[in-house]
Amino acid sequence: MRTLYVVEQGAVLVVSAEQLHLRRGEQRRCVGQLPLLEAVMLLGMVQMTTQAVRACLRHNIPLAYLSRSGWCYGRTLPVGWGSGVCYVAQRQTALAWQVQMAAVMVRAKIRNSRTVLLRHYRRYGIIGAERVIDSLQWLAERVGRCQTLDQVRGMEGAAAAIYFPALGECLRGEGFVFVGRSRRPPANPVNALLSFGYQVLWNHVLLLVELQGLDPRVGTLHTDHHGHLGLVSDLIEEFRASLVDSLVLSLINTKEVRAERDFEYRNGGCFLNDGGKRIFLQAWIRRMETKAGQGLRWELLVQQVKQYRRAVLDMDYVYTPYQID
């Protein structure tokens, strides 16, 4: 997904023939080519002229308006974006189908978390962590036997309780301490990085879900609770560890992100500052634009969403989650 992320506060996005330019005072520079762009994400106080909005929509580019920390307020979509063809089928899936789907996704999530840990254990020669690895393995196997959605959610919670402290053991950067997840707001730099990363991933999956004509509100593991887009949260589960957690680890351990430079504290929480966001997004793009299998990593997200669509429309189709080995 060729994306333009605009993080420069106070800048104005304008259109000039076939290009998008970012204007700041008297200066302007080209930041995107309309025929080649696939999404625009505006983070924080970035303005856009109506002409630029219209040009994006005409080129079938959706716009997402995000908070500075990546939370999605809403989107502007081209006419005809997504057709909603799956809405009815999604609401008619049997409970057994839902339990199975949720279990498949959670199992993949736990397995991928385990693999990310294993890789880092080997890299840093951490020993004595067999119990964590074995416990995750055990939970991943048990998920398949769950009978209800709540049981699946219980397994997921249990795995997260083991996984995150173990992830903290793999951190090698100065000033980064992590014992567990804290959200809304994130309490420290590691949580700030994870939260921002999950938001970025979430926003991309949302656009892909709608493009495939799926209703983002109808998930299995996560339900439509106060307008929460459950399906999007479901689909990112398989990708959290391999796309976000391992990126966060590598940014910290290679000292690309620094605790004293790239964060700010406000509203009782810790967030990436503008410089930190740039570093994260550039690393994210590098990762997503590297080859994985047939295409770029982006393609993995598209494939999973398409598979989910197929599984909804064809009850006999077996959804294969994304798994790293």
Binding site: M1, R2, T3, L4, Y5, V6, V7, E8, A11, A17, E18, Q19, L22, V31, G32, Q33, L34, P35, L36, R278, L281, Q282, I285, M288, E289
Partner: protein, 93 residues
């Protein structure tokens, strides 16, 4: 699959030449005064050609598209000017 396409043109009318250059700015990078390097999929190339056709006069203008196969990319020799156009990617601005 995206492929490198070199697009060159010779257009006497200032107005049409400007229009063509503006369009090409959206699909590739200008490497010489009337030469662009574009990295395009089949679909995007077709879209570009369709849109270009509306902006030129076949009787007076000349536009050429040279597809460069992947094996030849390493054999390209560049003297001066900017390096070979990279495939377009995402941007943080």
């Amino acid at each position: 699959m995206e492929r490198l396409i070199v697009v060159s043109y010779d257009i006497p009318s200032n107005r049409r030449r400007r229009k063509v250059a503006e369009l090409l700015e959206g699909y590739g990078q200008r490497v010489q005064y009337s030469v662009f390097e574009c990295r395009l999929s089949e679909g995007k190339l077709a879209e570009l050609q369709k849109r270009l056709q509306k902006r030129i006069k076949m009787a007076e203008d000349s536009v050429r598209f040279y597809p460069i196969p992947p094996y030849a990319l390493g054999q390209i020799i560049i003297w001066g000017g900017r390096p070979l156009a990279e495939p377009p990617g995402s941007t943080v601005a």
